[in-house]
Amino acid sequence: GPKVLQIPSHQIIDMGQMVTLNCDPVSNHLYFYWYKQILGQQMEFLVNFYNGKVMEKSKLFKDQFSVERPDGSYFTLKIQPTALEDSAVYFCASSLKLGVSAETLYFGSGTRLTVL
């Protein structure tokens, strides 16, 4: 089936550094999402993105976070600067349509971010 690829699978950085998480969504999809999962806990919505713009973001999407998809390349989540509480697994997802009620969301396998 359709695949969402996330690179890298694991990233370790020092607190205060910048990190960029990369997502290669399903090729014809137009809507993109980031979710955060702290170990053993539920998946928390961060942000969704369409046509170059953030459509909706949660309280977890702090000012230090930003997303973009320049020229149809990777959909990225950048954190600058990172904090200890940013340690989590970040999942990217994509869908063809908005209104996720209309179809499934496809998820990547996650990037485990460890902030030291």
């Binding site: 919505f45 909706e56 996720v100 969301l105 998820f107």
Partner: protein, 108 residues
């Protein structure tokens, strides 16, 4: 905001037995998706439902079509490989809202 309450939080089953997981929604939802998260953390999509029921092998899911406020996942003849964390996720317009998960352990 929209809330998804999932139960039970943990479950232990003997091989060959049946059980059911449940998700309640605090508001009417348009659809529901069920996932299993394996030990490596990968999310595997099991079902997407906008109404009614779907079945795949030993798994069957239902979404209350009338009030659209709960969904169930039935596991029949549980096997060791069914172990993992199961999440339901309900669709509000522009995102999925996840439940807290059910940690399922199938034992011999």
């Amino acid at each position: 905001g929209d809330q998804v309450e999932q139960s039970p939080s943990a479950l232990s089953l003997h091989e060959g037995t049946d059980s059911a997981l449940r998700c309640n929604f605090t508001t009417t939802m348009r659809s529901v998706q069920w996932f299993r998260q394996n030990s490596r953390g990968s999310l595997i999509s099991l079902f997407y439902l906008a109404s009614g029921t779907k079945e795949n092998g030993r798994l069957k899911s239902a979404f209350d079509s009338k009030e659209r406020r709960y969904s169930t996942l039935h596991i029949r003849d549980a096997q060791l490989e069914d172990s993992g964390t199961y999440f339901c996720a309900a669709a509000s317009f522009s995102k999925l809202v996840f439940g807290q998960g059910t940690s399922l352990s199938v034992v011999p």
